[in-house]
């Protein structure tokens, strides 16, 4: 069964800490995405990547960065966590071409910043 795996399901961090959220997919997908999910706001795109070492800002990139050193792995980095970054973070991937807008999601990482 194909998968998008997010290594941490629940994290609790303190304000100012550096946070790494890891995502790995085993489908050989070119595209990978990080979304943030908040109640009443749906999903909002933080960053995405179409290829190794390539990244593009989404709708809410402020306070975040990403890294894609290998095709299968896409990391989200919070350089200095703040309480307003408490949220559910969802990683997704998709193939290129006609299937590019059909996403496969991970189970999510729920981050609490104290």
């Amino acid at each position: 069964d194909v998968k998008v795996t997010q290594s941490s399901r629940y994290l609790v961090k303190r304000t100012g800490e550096k946070v790494f959220l890891e995502c790995v997919q085993d489908m050989d997908h070119e595209n990978m995405f990080w979304y943030r999910q908040d109640p009443g706001l749906g999903l909002r795109l933080i960053y995405f990547s179409y290829d190794v070492k390539m990244k593009e800002k989404g709708d809410i990139p402020e306070g975040y960065s990403v890294s894609r050193e290998k095709k299968e792995r896409f990391s989200l980095i919070l350089e200095s966590a703040s309480t307003n970054q408490t949220s559910m973070y969802l990683c997704a991937s998709s193939q290129t071409g006609s299937g590019a807008n059909v996403l496969t999601f991970g189970a999510g990482s729920r981050l609490t910043v104290l």
């Binding site: 009443g40 749906g42 995405f48 997704a92 006609s98 807008n101 496969t104 999601f105 189970a107 999510g108």
Partner: protein
């Protein structure tokens, strides 16, 4: 520009009765439309998609949706609800072939009672 509005934040039905989750969209071009489902503590899973072929789209688990251009709607239906359908449902619009241009609705939480 594109947008999507899910008209109900919560819907409650009895098991065995029909389900209707409403979605309206706005798009400058011919859209692709999707419904995703998210069960508790899980990632999002694709239910069905519309990409300008048949206007009535059948998805998994007995769900279907009808694209109505004149009404700019893409409502999700199921003839008979099951307890396992209790989840959050997201309507999504895309007017390009790239996943970076997906716009998610704010979600509808479906409750199924005995």
């Amino acid at each position: 520009a594109q947008s999507v509005t899910q008209l109900d934040s919560h819907v409650s039905v009895s098991e065995g009765t029909p389900v209707l989750l409403r979605c309206n969209y706005s798009s400058s071009y011919s859209p692709s439309l999707f419904w995703y489902v998210q069960h508790p503590n899980k990632g999002l899973q694709l239910l069905l998609k519309y990409t300008s072929a048949a206007t009535l789209v059948k998805g998994i688990n007995g769900f279907e949706a009808e694209f109505k251009k004149s009404e700019t709607s893409f409502h999700l239906t199921k003839p008979s609800a099951h307890m396992s359908d209790a989840a959050e449902y997201f309507c999504v619009v895309s007017t390009t072939g790239t996943a970076s241009k997906l716009t998610f609705g704010t979600g509808t939480r479906l409750q199924v009672t005995l």
